[in-house]
């Protein structure tokens, strides 16, 4: 009887175990969460892959304000009323690598976009199922975006680590790549993008032509390429690229200064809209336009005003001073505050898109490229005058030598491109004028005296901690 009992136990246990092993393996395999899509499905589908790319534009559209505010405060464009640690150190040129700002400048966001771009390039390459035209457009845009962000990284930090894959085991130990080699990658990507991208602007379908100048096309790639050649002193090529845009009938300088930043203005080469649920037209408009005295305290938006340096740099009668700079007057006490007013709207409906690239810059690149090559200075003066005339100014009347012209062009860049993507700050660095300017500006802002090392941002200390192959910039 006892033996029988044991048999029963064994039988029961065996049945149990058998049942268990039949069920368990499958039991612990879970489907992906209903709220997420596996990567393989994303890149097997035209629309889903497009969403992955659009996700980058949606995420990066506020960067225009960050970049222009930070660079504007660092240089001589803006004055700050904020005591926020996200803003104040820029104004005093007192960036600290390990300050409590989690990331300094564009670092974290730029590399996040670059990761996403790399994932898209790899996903398209490794997954079948998309139509070739869509693959081509998306790859082109991805390469363009990679170049775009490396451009801002290399200008902000100098040598930067060059991540061109999603493999974190490689990327986490990257060293800083020489600035020239980063530019090489930028130019390679842009050239490749130029061949891949559509001639026209396309819409969300990746193929149908759109009026909106949102999705980069060949011209957009050319515009950034012109800038990259200018910054790498490859003036002949910069001249060619900018010329191609000036000759392109799709783009014209908009004569009314108040209409330059409107949706699909003819001057637009590339614009990004705010996403559909936004409560204002552009982040720039919402953050720069003042309706009362600038906020003090910990705020970041509506705290930056036009500095006296910029205000005083305009020539008399410059219409840009009237139309692109707004003012608010407070009573008790009486005070006037000037603010960037290129974007006119701080609310709905959406009338403006954030300007990423526009034709006026191409005129100035073209002019400067000619001067730098010391050829056809008349033509360069013409380019310059096109911008000046629109601003209501007389034609350039200075001597027609390259030094004088160059000074005039750089000054025109200051007054034309202020608070747009940090042009002034990057021009000061590029031209080597930075020490001369900042030695005057820094003390007047309340800084502790200018140090030429501060032309580069510090690499965030948290990054050096995690990737110890990174070396900090001098001066930090």
């Amino acid at each position: 009887m006892l033996i029988k009992i044991n048999e029963k136990i064994v039988l029961l246990v065996m049945t149990g175990i058998g049942f268990y092993f039949a069920g368990c393996k499958k039991f612990v395999q879970v489907p992906p969460p209903s709220t997420q899509i596996v990567a393989a499905s994303v890149f097997g589908d035209n629309a889903a892959a497009t969403s992955a790319l659009m996700g980058i534009y949606i995420a990066m559209q506020p960067e225009s304000f960050s970049m222009s505010q930070h660079a504007g405060l660092l240089s001589d464009e803006l004055t700050s009323a904020s005591t926020s640690l996200d803003v104040q150190p820029y104004y005093f040129n007192s960036l600290h690598a390990s300050s409590n700002i989690f990331y300094l400048g564009a670092w974290r966001n730029a590399y996040s976009y670059i990761y996403q771009v790399n994932a898209i390039i790899e996903g398209i390459r490794n997954t079948a199922g998309m139509s070739p035209l869509v693959e081509q457009q998306l790859t082109g845009e991805a390469e363009f975006l990679r170049a775009f962000w490396y451009f801002y990284l290399v200008n902000s930090y100098g040598d930067v680590p060059l991540a061109i894959s999603t493999d974190y085991t490689t990327n986490e130990l990257l060293r800083r790549t020489n600035k020239d080699d980063v530019y090489q990658q930028i130019i390679t990507d842009l050239k490749e993008a130029k061949t891949l991208l559509n001639t026209n602007y396309v819409d969300g379908s990746d193929t149908a032509i759109s009026q909106d100048r949102i999705r980069p096309n060949k011209a957009v790639a050319s515009a950034l390429l012109a800038r990259a050649y200018l910054f790498t002193k490859d003036y002949a090529k910069a001249e060619l690229e900018s010329d191609s845009l000036m000759q392109n009938g799709d783009y014209q300088l908009v004569s009314d200064l108040n209409q330059v930043f409107l949706i699909n203005s003819l001057e637009t080469i590339w614009q990004l809209p705010v996403p559909s649920l936004s409560t204002y037209s552009t982040v720039d408009g919402n953050s720069y336009i003042l309706t009362s005295a600038p906020s003090g305290g910990d705020a970041t938006a509506r705290t930056s005003t036009i500095s006296s340096f910029l205000w005083n740099s305009f020539e008399p009668n410059d219409q840009r001073k009237q139309k692109w700079i707004g003012s608010v007057v407070t009573s008790n006490p009486t005070d006037t505050f000037y603010f960037p007013f290129k974007y006119k709207s701080n609310s709905l409906p959406v009338t403006e898109y954030t300007m990423m690239l526009r034709l006026a810059e191409q005129y100035l690149i073209h002019a400067e490229s000619l001067v730098r090559q010391n050829k056809n200075l008349d033509l360069a003066a013409n380019d310059l005058n096109a911008i000046r005339r629109r601003a209501g100014l007389n034609d350039y009347a200075g001597p027609l030598d390259s030094d004088s012209l160059l000074t005039a062009i750089l000054h025109e860049r200051q007054t034309e491109l202020f608070t747009e993507w940090g042009h002034r700050w990057f021009d000061l660095i590029r031209t080597g004028n930075i020490n001369q300017v900042m030695n005057i500006v820094n003390p007047q802002k309340g800084g502790a005296g200018w140090n030429q090392d501060w032309a580069s941002f510090p690499i965030p200390q948290s990054e050096i901690i995690k990737d110890h192959n990174l070396v900090q910039n001098p001066g930090y």
């Binding site: 612990v28 969460p33 969403s51 005093f92 005295a293």
Partner: protein, 1122 residues
């Protein structure tokens, strides 16, 4: 002979062998098992009746066939009587007697038993009695033995017993698990009413649950600590875990905020896993409530946060103690009054049966169940108040202004003190500098109400027992306005057994509804406002914003109370346990449970809470709505078998677990409401967006087995094995094997030792070793997925997708190897009971949220690392019965925990980011900081030890590891005094630890408009000054200050001794009770956190920072039973 009789005879033969073996050894009267028997027989042979009793009780019979066959037949009708009674009835007038030896009933001729007693004088008497507890409730199953004899009995359901034929001068011994043993001389009394006193029983008799099986503490090979519900219920808290503070060796609890419902950090024997970058639950123990896992993860929505309770987020950096968000505590959903006991399972022996989830220990929470006996109604009501007990000494207006002005002048920025800059520096130039407000008094010095009411009804008979109860509690928040945490809970438990006791079922149901209405931000965080800050209200009684040119010059601290964080938490759980005895020794059964945790949140920011000019912008009116839930079911079939083998008992257990948890959350944001009154309805918003939707499924499957062998109560072996699979791991890495081995030797049962040490009542050595795992990581970390990013909307009618995380399909289990040795000593009948345990937990294959530089695109990826972390510690407990007399008793409990953790090795750490977070040979909680050496008397700036000559420290060269910030020693001392109707319990908690000073929470003195502690006035002012606080500065000395915050200058001693709990109660005497027909009645006063002794300079050494510290609560109440 019919079939049944043959069966009995066969059993007889088997039992005879066993009986001979048993008789050869020690024979003890069974103390544990007794059964209720119902018999109905008409002229039935005794063998048939015996067979019936055998089936109903599981007891075997041993008798000579001749003797019984000649005894004739019996006729009887019995319902629910004790075994003894049944046997007596059967054998009445048959000249037969019985004797119970272990689980065998020996039938003999009656003269054989009474031979000795016949010669004794005076003549034996029959004694009847009734045994109750202190609340006059009958106790069933109490063991009564006659001293110096083998006869004895147990009480029935009404607590009644009968002893027949005992010597009138004999002494009877009354013993019952959980009660003090009593010796009573019969002294020829034939009717006795005996009241047993609870609590002072020997610890070794306590039965502890090890989850899938129970063990008497005496025979336990592992480390399980049990806290009785009644000790929790002496403490006025709404979160049951807070009632464990200081009570359990090895369990460290840090209350990070005094806001009701806030999260606490719970660590059992330290941190086994590298914490950085992991979910905050990564080092949490596994919680099981009535057999179903209870998620310790806060449900507070990760996308929108929880107002005053931050959003739960992973620890991402070295300063994690300062900033990690926590969210609301899920434990606030448990009602402390419904808890019967909490068991804390620590070592491998106890936790390996939980396999991959047992790495950080297991905490089993068991809710109350009905008991056999008189039905009774219990009512318990208390009310009281809470207050902050410690304040900081902050600067007054004069000192504050002096500091600010000095800072401007030191930096050569004195020109900024011109009135034209009034809007930038309002505290100096705009506000009324003659004002003085003590913001701590204004914002913190308040008291709130705390009330609690519980009612329950319980009882039952032999087959069915029930418990139904309900509770209500309301704990006000310390803020201006009607803020409170209100909790309503119900609990029901039903236990049923078939008449033959082969089928047992028990069901428990818990439901809690908690409504937490808290401000959007804590006004107490504003105690650092400049002392000349404007009044809270303007002349019209509205919030005062002191506007300058239409713009607020300050954040009114009450603005947070105009915003609301409303949260409704619901917890529903049910658990069914079934056990069926297939045949003697073999039980089949299992456990099935289901629980739902839900949290519905509303965070409302009306324009009334916004400063001008924002308050005129309808877009500012914002409300977020979130729904969060976690649903779990588990199914755990189990088979157990028990039999005697040799001189011991062998227990076998095999079972399986299937578990699924689905978590969902959704958060929406609406803004642009036309009016503040509309913001509770998202339909009235002009813009609505989905802030986030998440869904996660976790599945878990395990097969476990356990073999226990207890040889003669002296040598005990325990093997546990488990094979587990978890859905959190990638394909082919889901399964892992875990197991443990435990052994114990009760050396006090060895004759030669008791001869040598007669005062030794308990002596046990035990040891265990085993492997458990940890899967406390996020779900789907191995999968490469994209998530929609619709918060902002789309572009060109296309919504965005973003990669969810950095995928890694290759990570696998983290393993903890646990070694434990322990000694348990009881002296003088266990009046002194002392235990020591030593443990060593080693965790390798560390599954870390591996920190990546942002340049990889993500800050973190889940991966295994060969790092080895060791947690070692000593735990001591001492329980003494100091005095036990009829009117006065005094018992003490003491526990001490010493814990150390160390990163033993981390091959290749220098090639990982952890090189900058951890040091080999140091504690995980050691901070890597600069060495502060004082203020430079020349420059007035903080100075640090540096390797190079520059004088400015640089990471990592000048870093050195500080003391660990986790407690190094913690202890608890409890005393329980009983004098007649009075009872006093108090508990003192001691913690030895390091923590952060005030500096990191206040920022640089003078640099911004933040008030400072008085100590900053001892600052450097001129060359030659030797001070500990650097020069006041707006910007110039920022860098030195930033380095100071990253130095050991901000680490200080945060040890404390706290009178955690004191409870005084008065019970009405029995004479009064019987008049008013109460079973019991008690008046009491209970206090929590009564006072704290510490040198810590901040608000509170436990919470640190500027959070609302743990509060002092004083309550008074009444409890009675009918």
């Amino acid at each position: 002979m019919d079939l049944q009789v043959r069966c009995v005879t066969k059993t007889l033969r088997i039992m005879r062998l066993t009986a001979i073996i048993l008789l050869a050894g020690s024979v003890t009267v069974s103390a544990h098992t007794y059964s209720q028997i119902s018999l109905s027989a008409k002229d039935a042979p005794l063998t048939k009746v015996f067979k019936e009793i055998q089936q109903q009780t599981g007891y075997d019979f041993l008798f000579s066939a001749d003797l019984v066959e000649h005894a004739g037949t019996v006729t009887l009708q019995l319902t629910n009587v004790s075994l003894q009674r049944a046997l007596e009835e059967c054998l009445k007038g048959k000249n037969l007697a019985y004797e119970i030896q272990e689980k065998t009933i020996v039938i003999k001729k009656s003269d054989a038993l009474s031979a000795e007693t016949k010669n004794n004088l005076p003549p034996p008497i029959d004694v009847h009695g009734r045994i109750t507890n202190e609340s006059n409730e009958p106790l069933e199953g109490v063991n009564i033995t006659v001293k110096g004899s083998k006869s004895g009995t147990v009480t029935d359901v009404d607590g009644a017993f009968t002893l027949r034929n005992v010597d009138g001068n004999a002494t009877i011994i009354i013993s019952f698990v959980g009660y003090e043993q009593q010796y009573i001389r019969i002294a020829n009394h034939t009717a006795l009413v005996i009241k047993l006193r609870q609590g002072a029983e020997s610890l070794k008799d306590v039965v502890v649950s090890k989850g899938y099986y129970d063990s008497k503490q005496e025979y336990n090979t592992g480390n399980v600590y049990k806290v009785e519900g009644k000790d929790l219920q002496k403490q006025p808290v709404t979160d049951p875990l807070l009632a464990l503070e200081g009570r359990v060796p090895g369990l460290s609890i840090q209350q990070v905020s005094g806001v009701p419902g806030a999260y606490s950090v719970i660590r059992l024997r330290g941190q086994n896993a590298i914490q950085f970058g992991k979910p905050i639950t990564a080092n949490d123990p596994l919680y099981i409530v009535d057999g179903t896992p209870f998620s310790s993860q806060s449900l507070t929505n990760e996308f929108v946060g929880g107002g005053i309770f931050n959003a739960p987020k992973a620890n991402s950096g070295p300063g994690y103690l300062l900033g990690a968000g926590q969210g609301m505590s899920p434990f606030n959903s448990l009602n402390p009054a419904d808890i019967e006991s909490i068991e804390i399972l620590k070592d491998a022996d106890a936790t390996a049966i939980y396999g991959s989830r047992g790495a950080n220990g297991v905490i089993l929470i068991t809710t109350k169940k009905g008991r056999k006996g008189q039905n009774k109604l219990d009512v318990n009501v208390y009310t009281g108040t809470s207050k902050v007990t410690r304040y900081l000494k902050l600067l007054n207006t004069q000192q504050y202004l002096e500091m600010e002005r000095e800072a401007f002048n030191n930096d050569g920025l004195g020109f900024l003190l011109d009135p034209q800059y009034a809007e930038y520096f309002p505290s100096l130039l705009f506000w009324d500098t003659t004002r003085y407000t003590d913001w701590q008094k204004e914002l913190m010095d308040r008291s709130n109400n705390f009330s609690n009411a519980q009612i329950n009804f319980s009882g039952g008979n032999n087959n069915v027992q029930f418990f139904v109860g309900g509770g209500y509690s309301r704990q006000g928040a310390l803020f201006p306005g009607n803020y409170a945490d209100r909790k309503i809970s119900t609990h029901a438990a039903l236990t049923a057994a078939s008449p033959n006791t082969r089928l047992h079922m028990s069901l428990s149901i818990n439901y809690t509804n908690d409504f937490s209405n808290m401000p959007g931000a804590s006004p107490t965080n504003s105690i650092t406002l400049p002392p000349d800050a404007p009044p809270l209200y303007d002349s019209h009684g509205n919030l005062n914003w002191a506007p300058y040119g239409g713009t607020a010059t300050w954040t009114n601290p009450l603005s947070g109370t105009y915003a609301h964080a409303n949260a409704v938490s619901e917890y529903y759980a049910e658990n069914l346990n079934v056990r069926y005895t297939l045949f003697k020794g073999l039980d089949i059964g299992g456990n099935a449970g289901y629980s739902t945790q839900r949290l519905d949140q509303q965070n409302l920011a009306p324009s009334a809470s916004a400063p001008p000019p924002l308050n005129t912008n309808p877009m500012y009116r914002t409300s977020t709505f979130s729904e969060n839930s976690s649903k779990t079911w588990n199914l755990e079939p189990q088979l157990s078998y028990s039999r005697t083998v040799g001189k011991g008992t062998l227990d076998l257990l095999i079972g399986s677990t299937f578990l699924q948890t689905v978590r969902d959350s959704k958060a929406e944001l609406g803004n642009g409401y036309a009016s503040d009154v509309l913001i509770t309805n998202i339909q009235a918003a002009s813009v609505v967006r989905i802030m986030g939707v998440s869904n996660a499924e976790y599945r878990y499957n395990g097969l476990y087995g356990n073999i226990r062998y207890n040889w003669d109560g002296k040598y005990i072996l325990n093997f546990t094995g488990r094979r587990d699979g978890s859905s959190r791991f990638g394909p082919n890495r889901q399964f892992g094997n875990f197991g443990a081995f435990g052994a114990a030797w009760l050396f006090s049962k060895e004759k030669w030792i008791t001869n040598l040490l007669p005062f030794l009542s308990t002596g046990k050595l035990r040891a265990s070793y085993g492997v458990t795992g940890n899967d406390q990581i996020g779900d789907y970390q191995f999968m490469s997925t994209y998530s929609p990013n619709t918060t902002a909307g789309g572009i060109q009618n296309v919504t965005g997708l973003q990669p969810t995380l950095m995928p890694n399909p290759y990570f696998e289990w983290e393993r903890v190897r646990k070694l434990e040795e322990g000694v348990e000593i009881g002296l003088f009948k266990d009046a002194v009971f002392f235990t020591v345990s030593h443990y060593r937990n080693r965790t390798d294959n560390q599954l870390v949220g591996y920190q990546l530089p942002q340049l990889t695109g993500f800050g973190v990826v889940e991966a295994n690392f060969p790092a080895l972390i060791q947690n070692t510690g000593w735990e001591f407990t001492l329980h003494t019965r100091n005095i036990t007399t009829k009117d006065f008793s005094w018992t003490s409990d003491f526990n001490l925990s010493i814990s150390r953790d160390k990163l033993i090795s981390f091959p290749g750490i220098e090639n990982t980011p952890y090189f900058y977070l951890l040091r080999v040979g140091q504690s995980q909680s050691s901070q890597l900081l600069f060495k502060y050496i004082g203020v430079d008397p020349q420059t007035g700036e903080y100075k640090f030890q540096t390797k190079n000559e520059s004088g400015s420290p640089s990471a990592p060269d000048d870093w050195y590891p500080t003391k660990p910030l986790t407690p190094l020693y913690f202890a608890g001392l409890g005393n329980s005094l009983h004098f007649k109707q009075f009872q006093i319990d108090f508990w003192i908690q001691c913690v030895n630890q390091s923590g952060y000073t005030n500096t990191p929470f206040f920022g640089a003195p003078g640099a911004s408009e933040i008030n400072q502690p008085q100590e900053v006035m001892e600052r450097w002012q001129k060359p030659g000054d030797v001070k500990n606080v650097q020069r006041f500065s707006i910007t110039n000395s920022t860098s030195a200050f930033n380095n100071f915050v990253l130095s050991d200058g901000v680490i200080t001693n945060a040890s404390y001794i706290r009178l955690k709990n004191i409870s005084v109660s008065y019970s009405l005497p029995t004479t009064v009770l019987s008049k008013i027909h109460f079973i019991s009645a008690r008046l009491y006063v209970q206090c929590q956190n009564l006072f704290t002794i510490t040198k810590y300079p901040g608000l509170d050494p436990e919470s640190q920072g500027l959070n609302l510290p743990p509060l002092r609560t004083i309550t008074g109440g009444l409890q009675f039973s009918l």
